[in-house]
């Protein structure tokens, strides 16, 4: 049986690598930084250029496919996931890291058909680590098989999260409250590396037992979700139900045990869905 979508995945890997090279190149030069929704929600011309590069390349080879890209959505494109083969793209995950030359910056490309994720590619371009996952075929980093950590005792676990780009005092309060509760379980420690896609790959590779966050977007997690899942991990919503790609929230863990224990401590707060602006439109 022909391997459906392998062609698309090979293309994703190739274009992610090209995009990563552009990002590395731009690290050397001057950067103009703009703010999006808050003084900590940053974007640069590199984000925009890289997204154009990726999308043009995909549209040339797969003209009937749909695309959801972070910068296009910022510029007003719809963010609705249909049954059509859809590429979900974050051209530069970790823009703050990029601006500061902090070493975790990634290109993230997820691919869904009939709203089901088929493969994910995350290229951590400063580290030159190409993470890939294809449904039913495992997850890899630079060709080496990935496996989540076997640690299921929450008190022996390392947890990754982020403080986020909202500076709204209510949101910050909820974020800190969740962190405090998890820290006091107690867990071994908490880490904040600055890129959601890379955080998920760190869980997939066993470097941490879980990553959770409220406030990310579908383009941050769609590739990582396949990679974690194919490495033997679990994904769920912060309130314990199944992962909802458009919900702006994620828990990715090595095991159900760890995921469920974290979910008990997370204080959820509202975040507008990625597909919200389309709700109720004529």
């Amino acid at each position: 049986m022909a391997d459906l979508w392998q062609d698309a995945m090979d293309h994703a890997v190739a274009i992610a690598r090209k995009a990563g090279a552009v990002i590395r190149d731009h690290l050397q030069g001057e950067m103009t930084v703009m703010c999006k929704s808050s003084p900590a929600d940053l974007v640069t011309m590199t984000d925009q250029k890289v997204e154009e590069l990726i999308m043009a390349s995909i549209m040339e080879k797969f003209p009937t496919h749909s695309l959801i890209g972070e910068e296009s959505v910022s510029a007003g494109q719809p963010c609705i996931l249909t049954d059509n083969p859809t590429w979900i793209i974050d051209p530069l995950d970790g823009t703050t890291n990029f601006i500061h030359r902090f070493p975790f910056v990634a290109v993230s490309i997820g691919f869904a058909v009939n709203k089901e994720l088929e493969f994910g590619v995350v290229y951590s371009c400063i580290e030159d680590k190409m993470y890939t996952g294809k449904r039913g075929k495992g997850a890899f980093c630079n060709g080496k098989r990935l496996q989540v950590s076997g640690q299921t005792d929450i008190k022996q676990s390392l947890i990754i999260t982020e403080l986020g780009s909202s500076r709204d005092p209510e949101v910050v309060r909820h974020i800190f409250s969740s962190m405090q509760k998890i820290l006091c379980i107690p867990v071994h420690g908490m880490r904040c590396a600055g890129s959601a896609a890379i955080n998920m790959c760190l869980v997939a590779g066993g470097a941490a037992e879980a990553y959770y966050e409220i406030g990310i977007h579908c383009w941050d997690i769609s590739a990582g979700a396949v990679i974690v899942s194919e490495a033997g991990g679990v994904l769920m919503d912060v309130e314990g139900g199944p992962l909802d790609l458009m919900s702006r929230r994620v828990v990715a863990a090595n095991s159900r045990n760890v995921a469920e224990r974290i979910v008990k401590e997370i204080e959820a707060f509202p975040a507008e869905r990625d597909d919200a602006s389309e709700a109720g439109s004529a």
């Binding site: 703050t96 780009s165 500076r167 405090q180 760190l202």
Partner: protein, 279 residues
């Protein structure tokens, strides 16, 4: 005029590299973990073996020198800094990261004479990055010169610190509220990589604009202090006063305005001193 301590520094770099190889080898195998002062204060056999390797290698060449090593202090050795040439050693900085294979794990060796830091070496061994600095001679990463970002505006900065469980509820609350207060200045972001020595090197090479921490140790800071200073950065006490190697706290930053702004924002909590004699 020849440099009296260059030979020591060359030896330091060589033994640090060996130590890093030992750590990378250990990462390929199972790691059994023990607790020190609390369920989140971890140590492994590798910490102990690496420290033994470093100290015996240095002692063989420099028998008159003194040592302050994390694992030796844990088993009762003195941590008083004297005028004697002294090697201040953290065999594995980021033991929790090491146990979990989270990529920031380093060997940190600082060298003092007359209580002044002469050189520092930090080897981030998973990344294979050797950071070095000799007083007055600049700072380097894998032989390439490094310098701080120069950022003076706190609202455009990335700040490093660490978040961890503390048994003392008040200390824990103060630690958390410090992070919250820095975040909402606002800064661009806060990162918690998990190794104090690596954090100082990240500031030194411009990947972050500041690092502050209450509760670390002299062996976490001695090498990094030389590296940040030689990279053009500043280092001070968390109250804004002069840096005190034995105080268990620091702020290091790309510029004085950023360091001072952080000092104004954070609240202190007691953390003891490394040169306190325990009763």
């Amino acid at each position: 005029m020849s440099d009296p301590w260059q030979e020591c520094m060359d030896h330091c770099i060589a033994v640090t590299r060996k130590a890093g190889e030992m750590i990378r080898e250990a990462l390929k195998k199972d790691i059994s973990v023990m607790q020190k002062s609390s369920p989140v204060d971890l140590v492994t056999e590798t910490d102990q073996k690496v420290e033994a390797l470093i100290i015996s290698s240095i002692r063989e060449k420099y028998p008159g020198h003194s040592f302050i090593g994390e694992e030796s202090v844990a088993t009762g050795s003195s941590s008083i800094l004297t005028e004697n040439p002294t090697w201040i050693i953290d065999p594995i900085d980021g033991t929790t990261n090491f146990v979990h294979r989270f990529p920031f794990v380093s060997v940190s060796i600082g060298f003092t004479v007359n209580k002044e830091i002469e050189f520092g070496v930090v080897y981030s061994c998973v990344e294979d990055k050797m950071y070095t600095a000799r007083r007055g001679k600049g700072a380097f990463c894998n032989g390439e010169p490094i310098k701080v970002s120069g950022q003076e505006d706190i609202t455009k900065s990335v700040v490093l610190t660490e978040i961890g469980f503390k048994e003392n509820r008040d200390h824990f609350k103060t630690m958390m509220s410090n992070i919250q207060n820095i975040l909402t200045i606002p800064v661009h972001g806060i990162r918690c990589p998990g190794s104090a020595a690596v954090n100082m090197c990240l500031v030194a090479c411009g990947s972050a604009d500041a690092y502050y921490h209450i509760g670390i140790h002299c062996w976490d800071m001695a090498a990094g202090a030389a590296i940040v200073t030689e990279a053009g950065g500043v280092i001070m006490d968390t109250t804004g006063g002069p840096f005190d190697l034995m105080s268990r706290r620091l702020i290091t930053a790309s510029s004085r305005p950023i360091a001072e702004r952080i000092a104004r924002q954070i609240q202190q909590f007691p953390c003891g001193r490394d040169d306190e004699e325990s009763s």
